[in-house]
Symmetry: C2
Subunit: 463 residues, 2 copies
């Protein structure tokens, strides 16, 4: 690894200039006028894969933008990593808020500013460079490696599931590696090992068969807005726990190790509340804020409406009231099961004064890659070596659908090795990649490939 690391050290300028070239291609997947740039960018990546020594490089057309594939499978007996990333970027509007042109990567201070610098071209490029460094200096990789870099992540990855499904055999691997997220904060390398799932419901309450005059009818009819409020209010108890029977049944208990790990993360309830502009936080009693955000399920009203919502006063006793309610799920809750529990409960608590209609709008499974799994342990070791600092463990409260899909279609877990920063302006003007993270990322990537086989040998612990 010494040669590899010194190669990386001495090629920093070269790496930066290559990345600048990649970032100059305006691969905005959502805009028709960039159709040609999408092709050009896919080709650039493919050419670069050839250049660093990957085999079987292919640009697969899809019904949308193409997927770039390559592999290097010369490490028999070693684990196979499937690297996933995307070469498409978000639009750049409002252009006038950019300090430097979005497709003309510019170093200011310790950051490289450009659209896609962090999300996700820069992070994809990190792995290309570690592969190059290993190939150039050792002539081989310590693992088998497959790469798929898609062009539709920013527009919903609409054709990826079908692609993965169709190329199941080609994509067969032992774990997925994704660098498309952030470290916990600057100088705090972290490993994200869990994501929450989702069950998103919509309910429609019907009271009277028409909108009524609230004067002429008020006092005789259960207002469906009131009924809805009463039902929603009852969905949490005074300890902030969701009251749906069976809701917590499949929730995996936080281990002592996890709780201890979260406590090590720099986090202040006070600062967090101040940043969000609230006087007090809220949530399930008995858990810290980070535990509630990452490892506990929640129920949120994403929307509510009913009656008159324009300017001024209208004396209506409305016929209908609606709410969108979603639940964030954690392992081992299952989206469909929770949706059913919700539906059963909400119908049960609906008073006889109204009728209720419930729909499931969307669902997604939670995901976890155990912190004592070989992939995570290799990542932890690699981050420590790459950044000179023991990384911390974190989860993410949101969902990354592709992680769930890889688990579902290919049956494998994902390691999320994020080299971005929380304030990096992904999707906004002045997106940047911190250069320490860029170079530290390349070192970490090399270490990850190097460490993985060591951990892989260890018998996996039974959960």
């Amino acid at each position: 690894m010494e040669k590899v690391l010194s190669y990386i050290e001495s090629n920093k300028e070269q790496y930066l200039s290559e990345l600048t070239e990649l970032l100059s291609i305006p691969s905005v997947s959502s805009l028709k006028e960039h159709q040609g740039d999408m092709q050009r960018c896919a080709q650039w990546i493919a050419d670069h894969m050839e250049h660093i020594g990957m085999h079987n490089v292919k640009i697969f057309p899809t019904e949308g933008h193409p997927v770039v594939y390559s592999e290097w499978l010369e490490a028999p007996g070693k684990p196979t990593v499937l690297l996933y990333g995307h070469y498409d970027v978000q639009p750049v509007d409002p252009l006038n808020l950019w300090t430097s042109p979005p497709f003309q990567a510019t170093v200011r201070g310790e950051n490289l500013y450009a659209r896609g610098a962090s999300d996700d071209k820069g992070q994809v490029f990190i792995h290309l460079k570690s592969v190059e460094a290993m190939m150039k200096n050792e002539g081989a990789l310590p693992v088998n490696l497959k790469m798929i870099i898609e062009g539709e992540e920013e527009i919903g990855s609409d054709h990826l599931d079908a692609f993965v499904e169709e190329h199941k055999e080609l994509l067969k691997a032992d774990l997925v590696l994704i660098s498309d997220s952030s470290m916990y904060e600057k100088d705090v390398p972290s490993i994200c090992y869990g994501l929450r799932g989702l069950a998103y419901m919509e309910i429609e309450l019907t009271g009277p068969n028409r909108d009524l005059h609230s004067g002429s009818f008020g006092g005789s009819i259960h207002n469906p807005v009131q009924a809805l409020a009463e039902m929603i209010a009852s969905l949490h108890d005074k300890n902030g726990r969701v009251t749906i029977p069976g809701f917590y049944k499949d929730v995996r208990t936080l281990t002592k190790k996890e709780r201890a790990a979260y406590k090590k993360l720099p986090f202040s309830d006070k600062k967090y509340a101040k940043d969000l502009g609230v006087r007090e936080l809220y949530g399930e009693k008995g858990f810290t804020t980070l535990e509630r955000l990452w490892a506990r399920p929640t129920l949120e009203c994403n929307g509510i409406w009913g009656g008159y919502i324009g300017e001024g006063a209208k004396t209506v006793l409305p016929a209908k009231a609606y709410a969108k309610i979603s639940m964030r799920l954690v392992p081992d809750q299952q989206s469909a099961k929770i949706a059913k529990l919700f539906e059963k409960h909400i119908k049960k608590i609906a008073p006889k004064t109204v009728t209720i209609n419930v729909r499931t709008l969307h669902g997604g499974e939670p995901a976890i890659t155990p912190i004592d799994s070989p992939g995570v342990e290799a990542a932890v070791s690699a981050l420590e070596k790459g950044f000179g600092k023991k990384p911390l463990y974190q989860r993410e409260g949101g969902s990354i659908p592709i992680v769930v899909q890889f688990k579902k279609i290919l049956g494998i877990d994902t390691v999320l090795l994020g080299f971005g920063l929380p304030d990096e302006n992904a999707h906004s003007p002045d997106e940047f990649l911190n250069l320490n993270n860029f170079y530290g990322g390349i070192r970490t990537s090399a270490h990850f490939f190097n460490e993985l086989p060591k951990f892989w040998k260890r018998p996996s612990k039974k959960r």
Copy 2:
């Protein structure tokens, strides 16, 4: 009265043809193209007042449509009645749903169909005809009478308050008589002696300082939609009573006589629920449905909104949630006082996790004309004589602002003598006036003027 009644009987055809003429003028106050018709209609009414023997007939211009005034004050020592009505009508759209042309009054069965037949030209005309019958046959009225017939009721009576305020002296009277409402139902003459008031509020809850991702932040923040639901849910107790401290303090207790009177009205909870399409009614325990509608205050959510309310799923934890909440008030609650109680309470129950903003959007006082007051007693006697049937007592759950304004500006109560029917299609195609009610109304009007002085002599009971 015998001569008066036989005159009415023998002039039915004539009355109908005159009313048909009045109804042929398309006095749609809201439409600019009918500006000339408004003038024409005011003039028609003024001419007719002259014709029946009213004095001092005047068309007062306002900033909107004119008010027609007249008086007959030759009954010294007798009470003075101020008759209020309106000659403007609602638009006729959708025209294709009318069975006969809206401004070509047509008799079908026992009804006269035309725009304004019941609301309110027909009901105004009822009183003109009783005055005519008395003048022609007795040369005088048994009371002093003033009339104001306005042209802006259907567009909010915007200039009436100013008119009444400006002509306070001219309009001085002992009671107001209004026929612009309905009987309880066909063949059930009734007297409406009370209206509810209103305090209409809007609340805005703010949680975090921006919309948040419900995955990344859910579990740490009190969702303002949830907080709002919790607050709204707490505004009624399990007996359907409003929980705002002091809310019921000024509510006038229903008298035994009133409760007995409401029991006499044909009313079926089952039929009412079926008509409205609900399986169960709702309201304050300990009161019948009619009592709750007419004599008990209520609190209704007229509107609620917050978060994502479009199609499909958006995983937002919203920054804001809003509700429009109004309270219907009964004597002797006061709108401003109740608004204050509401504001104080809602701020008190708002959790520390959110900030709250409360606005009063609208207010109006409740009104009651005691059922043992001379005006109501005269009306009851007149209805019995006019329709051959003892009338029943009712109130109305809504508000008629002009009643409150007359009380406020002139200091007098109103007698609501409605000759319409609940299903008369006021404001809709095929509006009609039942002809039995038309002729019974004329008889009742004559009896009312005749009876009033008798009851007026009685010392008024102290409440």
